[in-house]
């Protein structure tokens, strides 16, 4: 009798039975039943259970199957031991030295990037923790080394590591064919960055049978990486039955300055917006004011304009914003004999704030840093433009905004910040009005301070001691911890890093 058969009898109970099945060879070792005991059957079952339980324990589970080839040797070196001791808790996501999980994730990503730049790999003992966290796969992959790649292949072959968003690449055709919508979109977005034409062809092949939300996401992904070769595909998208697709197609086309779409929108803009010369009066001469003025005629869309996204359902202000947003700033001098910056400063018959928003959007779409800087110099305060600004312009914007709005400006700056910006933000934080700064600026600051300044700022923040207020103390402690760990890792790896990855070309001050 097997243990499973015995367990089935026990589940129902011996009270329902008059005998037990024979136990076979085991019966020689078991006591005979006591006929006088009304529960003899139960005790006999317990005797058998004891014997079979020992047999069961004495037979550990096996793992049949052919062995796989072992991992090849690693040729890359490991990071210094201090870096490894800091990476361990970060990979295990232990609170350790850094309290906030988001801070740990940031510091870990930066550290793994530095290890990769230093031409090193993770030590074998950290590979388990590194591969257990799939969300880290993109940053872990370059530092896996031969052993890590072997282990990852084992995990995937065992079905213990599904193809993830981070690992999906253009070669993973299976993901595009069989993945979930989310996985397919991740594949598509990735493919657009490495093989945009191939990715577009893949989208075209499935376009007709794809539902509207999926088509919208595909077209949105194309919009972010639009290139002239996408123009025909996007023009077709303007006729799509789904509004989201049409909107994304218009967005994509407006990023192509030489496209027919932009030419159509520019022609409409010329018809709607004009710069006119006024007869200069005495007051103009006295005040040295310009005699030019901006005149905007509300645009009434025809069928072609509706197809291009200037729907009749929109208000005239919204239509004007869309129209202006589709015109690259560099075209304005040829259209109206005035630059984009002049358009926002010229005298207007009535204030046209939507014009400013539209020009800002066009500046962003075309990544027109020159116009962005000129707009800011002219007084336009559009935080979206911050990533395009020079360091000096960012500093100018920061000096104009109150401490409470500092976060709105700096949270759009890519990391690491220029040294001068980091210094200015740090001085705001530790200055007399530091308590007015949004708490997330402390977090941004801890992460975005250039590596070579991190140690110095950690030292300076430590010198502040224990300020009043638990929240401020916690912010200070968390920021100092992040800066300290970043500095420790960077200092250890610095001898192995290429000089370019360490030097910041931006001029600036010191902490």
């Amino acid at each position: 009798m097997t243990f499973a058969a015995l367990a089935s009898i026990a589940a129902v109970g011996t009270g329902q039975r008059s005998s037990l099945p024979p136990t076979g060879a085991l019966s020689a070792y078991l006591p005979g039943p006591d006929e006088s005991d009304p529960q003899a059957l139960a005790y006999a079952l317990l005797d058998s259970a004891a014997a079979l339980a020992v047999v069961r324990r004495a037979t550990p589970a096996t793992a049949p199957g052919d062995p796989v080839p072992p991992a090849p040797d690693d040729s890359l070196p490991e990071p210094p031991e201090h870096v490894v001791s800091l990476l361990g808790p970060l990979l295990a996501d232990d609170a350790g030295a850094i309290r906030l999980a988001s801070d740990r994730a940031y510091v870990l990503g930066e550290a793994l990037g530095l290890v990769a730049q230093a031409g090193m790999r993770l030590p074998h003992r950290l590979l388990g923790a590194a591969l257990a966290r799939r969300e880290l796969r993109a940053s872990v992959r370059p530092v896996l080394g031969a052993r890590g790649e072997w282990l990852l292949a084992q995990l995937q072959a065992a079905g213990l590591d599904g193809v993830t968003v981070a690992t999906a690449g253009p070669s993973d055709a299976d993901v595009w064919e069989r993945g979930t919508s989310e996985e397919r979109l991740a594949w598509f977005r990735h493919a657009r960055t490495v093989d945009p034409d191939g990715a577009r062809a893949a989208a075209v092949a499935v376009w007709k049978e794809s539902p509207a939300p999926f088509r919208t996401e595909l077209m949105s992904a194309v919009a972010v990486t639009a290139a002239p070769a996408d123009e025909a595909f996007c023009e077709v998208g303007l006729d799509d039955r789904a509004e989201g697709v049409r909107f994304a197609a218009a967005e994509a086309l407006s990023r192509l300055p030489d496209s027919a779409y932009v030419a159509r929108m520019a022609a409409r803009a010329r018809a709607s917006i004009a710069v006119v010369e006024l007869e200069p009066g005495a007051i103009h001469r006295l005040l040295k004011r310009t005699t030019r003025s901006l005149r905007v005629t509300p645009y009434e869309p025809d069928e072609a304009a509706v197809r291009d996204g200037l729907s009749r359902k929109l208000s005239s202000a919204e239509r004007l914003t869309r129209l202006v947003a589709a015109v690259p700033p560099s075209l304005w001098p040829a259209l109206v004999s005035a630059t984009a910056a002049e358009l926002v400063t010229l005298h207007q018959d009535e204030p046209r704030w939507e014009l400013v928003g539209g020009i800002g959007t066009a500046t962003l779409r075309n990544a027109d840093a020159t116009t962005a800087n000129v707009l800011v110099a002219a007084g336009v305060m559009d935080p979206r433009l911050v990533p395009l600004l020079s360091t000096e312009a960012v500093l100018a914007v920061m000096s104009r905004v109150p401490p409470t709005l500092l976060g709105t400006v700096v949270d759009r700056l890519p990391s690491p910040w220029p040294q001068a910006v980091a210094t200015a933000v740090g001085q705001q934080l530790v200055g007399p009005n530091g308590h007015q700064v949004r708490p997330d600026v402390w977090t941004l600051f801890a992460r975005a301070v250039p590596l070579r300044l991190a140690g110095g700022w950690a030292q300076r923040l430590r010198g502040l001691g224990q300020p009043d207020g638990r929240i401020v103390r916690n912010l200070l402690r968390d920021t100092t911890s992040v800066l300290t760990v970043r500095a420790l890792i960077a200092d250890e790896l610095r001898p192995f890093l290429p000089e370019t990855s360490w030097q910041d070309t931006q001029p600036g001050g010191r902490p």
């Binding site: 243990f3 499973a4 015995l6 367990a7 089935s8 026990a10 589940a11 129902v12 109970g13 011996t14 009270g15 329902q16 529960q39 059957l41 139960a42 005790y43 317990l46 005797d47 259970a49 079979l52 339980a53 020992v54 069961r56 324990r57 004495a58 037979t59 550990p60 589970a61 096996t62 793992a63 049949p64 199957g65 052919d66 062995p67 796989v68 080839p69 072992p70 031991e81 201090h82 001791s85 232990d94 609170a95 350790g96 030295a97 074998h124 590979l127 388990g128 052993r147 282990l151 084992q154 995990l155 065992a158 430590r462 224990q466 402690r477 100092t480 911890s481 300290t484 760990v485 420790l488």
Partner: protein, 438 residues
């Protein structure tokens, strides 16, 4: 200068995981000042939430420690953080001894001289001895009654059917076993009571729960019957008494013949039960090739003994408890401590390891797992396993499988671990540099 601790030893010293996490969070230079180390003293000042920093001092040889913070955890996070900093090589020899550290060290030295020697058995009068014998006899009666009740209860359960098991029934019985002074049985019942009950309908109702419950019921029945037998060999009788929960006085164990060796710590597992934390440490004699199990107990929230950390070793006399197989031991005289121990061992094949496990089970059928060392290649495909040179395999179980694969890369390795019904639970790998903890 003594060998620097490894971070694992600091982790083992933490009274609980929360303290460990808090300690590691503070293990960065940020909050620390006036740090220094002059063997065996380690000191520093940690800026906490108060106006003045907390003073911390540790004697790493003992180890003992003191912190001026008000925490009830012992050691507190500041002590752990300082030890982590030292273990990670961020505190070098040097620094000016703080007044706090100097004062504590002086007080301790003065107090230490007056301490009575440890483990000195107190002399007892004849009356006390008679009372003790009467209590022992009374306990045996209670145990006999308790185990008889246990056996009846088991039979009732099997008669009525395990599918009708009332949730919490085993917990109630465990409480009665505590009253009957059968703590070993009570513990096993509490373990069983914690397991989730699966579906109790259908042909294979309950699945793993049903199998595990019946197996444990069978073994408890065997224990109950074994207690009533007067013809058991002495070693088996001692084994039965130990599983019931009879303790053997420490002085009795220390009076047995010592087994001297350099013992490598090859595994460690902590568990908490109600108010008591238990640490099970597996040792391997590098000369005698014997295994030993050392248990440490502490009140919940208090630190467990951290003198034996996996990867380290100790040259010491071990005294084994009576009963077979002789596994549980006490550490007697310690002659040397090794932060890392290097030795050679020919790992068993899977068949040899299983044969040893079976021999041990024949001596002690209630034993849950057994330490062993297997020479084999780890793999994940087609199923997690350790394959020896002749192609026999054992399933890899537990949470260290991925770490073992990462460390060995599928190459043959000498792996220590515990063998049990689920398979092999790896704990450490022997390398040229000694044991590496998984």
């Amino acid at each position: 200068m003594a060998e620097r601790w490894r971070p694992e030893r600091v982790t083992a010293l933490a009274p609980d995981s929360a303290s460990d996490v808090a300690g590691r969070r503070l293990a960065i230079p940020t909050p620390w000042s006036d740090i220094g180390y002059a063997h065996p003293l380690l000191w520093g000042a940690c800026q906490g939430s108060g106006a003045s920093p907390y003073s911390v001092v540790v004697d790493v040889s003992d180890p003992s420690y003191r912190c001026s913070c008000p925490s009830r955890k012992f050691p507190c996070k500041h002590v752990l953080a300082l030890l982590y900093l030292w273990a990670e090589g961020r505190i070098d020899e040097g620094g000016t001894l703080s007044r706090f550290a100097a004062s504590w060290s002086a007080t301790r030295t003065a107090g230490g001289e007056e301490k009575p020697p440890k483990d000195e058995p107190a002399e007892r009068t004849e009356a006390q001895l008679a009372a003790s014998a009467a209590r022992a006899e009374q306990r045996e009666d209670r145990v006999t009654g308790g185990l008889a009740e246990l056996d009846r209860w088991l039979a009732d359960q099997v008669t009525a059917g395990l599918a009708h098991t009332r949730p919490g029934a085993m917990g109630d019985l465990a409480a009665r076993m505590v009253d009957a002074q059968v703590p070993g049985v009570a513990g096993r019942l509490r373990d069983l009571n914690r397991r989730p009950i699966g579906s109790r309908t259908g042909a294979r109702a309950g699945g793993a729960w049903l199998d595990d419950t019946l197996a444990e019921y069978g073994l408890l029945h065997l224990l109950s019957r074994a207690w009533t037998r007067t013809d058991l060999p002495e070693a088996l009788r001692a084994t039965v008494r130990s599983h019931i929960g009879f303790t053997v006085p420490k002085e009795t164990v220390l009076a047995t013949a010592p087994v001297a060796d350099t013992w490598a710590v090859v595994g460690m597992r902590d568990s908490d039960e109600e108010q008591v934390s238990t640490r099970r440490v597996w040792l391997y004699g590098t000369e005698t090739s014997r295994y030993a199990l050392v248990l440490f107990f502490a009140q919940r929230g208090m630190p467990l003994d951290a003198s034996l950390v996996p990867g380290s070793g100790v040259t010491a006399d071990l005294h084994f408890y009576p009963g077979g197989p002789a596994l549980r031991a006490l550490v007697g005289d310690t002659h040397d401590v090794h932060q890392r121990v290097r030795f050679q061992v020919d790992g068993s094949t899977v068949a040899e390891a299983v044969a040893s496990w079976r021999r041990v089970l024949a001596e002690d059928p209630w034993l849950g797992s057994y330490p062993t060392v297997i020479r084999g290649s780890a793999r994940l495909v087609p199923s997690p396993g350790l394959v020896d040179e002749v192609g026999d395999s054992v399933r890899l179980a537990g949470g260290a499988t991925l770490a073992l694969l990462a460390l060995t890369g599928g190459h043959p390795a000498t792996v220590f671990g515990e063998l049990e019904a689920r398979g092999f639970l790896p704990t450490t790998v022997l390398t040229d540099d000694g044991l590496v903890v998984l």
